[in-house]
């Protein structure tokens, strides 16, 4: 689906030429960094390349601005709110982190101008990465997804796994019945929506509230879209947890993620600990990067009993 064209599409002519000469393929390109006055840097096949020798590869301020304009389809105004948060998600689901001079108004970030640093991270969804754990997350009789919390340290693939669980539950695969899934995608990381259209595969029965605060979004979805499952990324705040309770009381199933290195680590966090006591979640999936990002270290039931890998639990 995505060749080199998709990657080049977000750059102005000058940068395109440099990247074309480098022969980058989108599927292997992880990140491109542009800093005004510094050489272009990219991470390809997990390795960093700095274009130091090439004078043309020294990034000018105009290059950064033109890239931002080009990536946003010359419509930066449409990304105003995202820009305030320091990133924008563009067509293809790619994420552009921005930095530069922050303009404040009434103690609030108004915008970033001029933008002089860009971090372009290319979206790579891993289809099928959740299929092997789905039997543990699904009720065998009804085929319904169980209330599940994914626990993971940063950069260990919890959003990638959550996205694939959503897709699997929505399409009805790997033992799960096809269920209507509502996703509150506060940072556009799950669906990578561009102008409301998901760029990642999230399943045919999935509705997404993009760029919406989690707590408000969960309430809105319950009232408007009658979802059977609600999925949210990185819960933590008091209001998120309140909204989670409301959603569960409405009879919806929950798929959520939280930052944490282990089950014990999460159990100690204020707020979420009561969910453990009340056994709100029926499954906990703990991720790590022992065998690479996204590797499942353990699946636990609501009582904390390890279900997977079974040999470790014995």
């Amino acid at each position: 689906m995505r060749g080199q064209d998709g990657l080049l599409k977000i750059f102005p002519d000058r940068i395109r030429e440099i990247l074309t000469e480098e022969g980058l393929e989108e599927k292997n390109t992880e990140e491109i960094r542009m800093r005004a006055g510094a050489p272009l840097i990219y991470i390809y096949k997990n390795r960093e390349y700095v274009l130091e020798g090439d004078k043309r590869a020294v990034i000018r301020r105009e290059d950064v601005e033109e890239t931002l304009q080009c990536a946003a389809g010359y419509s930066l105004y449409a990304y105003e709110e995202e820009l305030r948060q320091g990133f924008l998600t563009v067509q293809g689901g790619h994420r552009i982190g921005v930095a530069g001079r922050v303009v404040m108004e009434n103690g609030r970030v108004k915008t970033i101008s001029p933008v002089t640093f860009l971090n372009i991270r290319f979206s790579h969804e891993i289809r099928g990465c959740a299929e092997h754990i789905m039997p543990w997350l699904t009720d065998r009789e009804s085929g319904e997804i169980r209330n599940t919390l994914l626990v993971s340290p940063p950069r260990c693939g919890k959003t990638t796994l959550l996205r694939d669980i959503i897709r699997t539950a929505s399409d009805g695969m790997a033992g799960a019945r096809g269920q209507t899934v509502g996703v509150v995608d506060e940072r556009s990381e799950i669906g990578a929506c561009c102008q409301g259209i998901p760029q990642n595969e999230v399943g045919k029965r999935t509705d997404i509230l993009d760029c919406c605060p989690k707590a408000a979004g969960m309430m809105m979805l319950v009232r408007s879209m009658a979802p059977e499952v609600i999925a949210v990324d990185e819960i933590g705040g008091g209001r998120d947890l309140e909204a989670l309770r409301y959603v569960i009381n409405c009879g919806c199933r929950i798929l959520a993620t939280i930052h944490g290195s282990s089950l014990e680590d999460v159990r100690r966090k204020p707020g979420i600990s009561s969910f453990f006591r009340e056994r709100v979640f029926e499954r906990y999936v703990v991720l790590g990067n022992r065998c690479g990002p996204g590797s499942v270290q353990g699946i636990y039931d609501g009582n904390g009993k390890q279900l997977f890998p079974e040999w470790e639990g014995r």
Partner: protein
Amino acid sequence: MWMRVLGAAATVIACTALGAGAVLRMRERKCLLERMRRMIVHLRGEIMYANVTLETAFWRTGKREEGKLSELFCSVARRLENEAGENFAEMWREEAETILKDTSLKRQDMEQLVCFGKSLGYLDRDMQERVIRFYLEDLELAIENLRREEPEKSRLFFGLGILSGLFLTVILL
């Protein structure tokens, strides 16, 4: 004799037709400017209310109308979709000059149109609102002038056409 009468009649008719052509061009220009105003109002709605990108806004607006202006909007949307890494203002100017070159729009109208493209998409939504408002004001002014001058100029062009025809006939005879 008959040839002379026929020649005189042809001269008068041709000159009158020239006058009528000028009137038609003026009316066509007014129609184009009015249509453009309608499309720009729609574009403003797409940008300010729907908060969509220029590509979507141009596409949706272009699809609602017909004719050269619709062609311009859809063509710009297509170029934005294909994104050749060019500057938007340049893209807009090229398309406007190519598609609208055989229309009744005057140089002044084209200059305003090109100028509109130079500021569109730049900075935030407030900026878009202002850019669109300024262009709409220019359009209003041009339409208002045309409306005011139309009856007078129509008579003048027709009159001049007939009179110049008669004048030529007298001279040639």
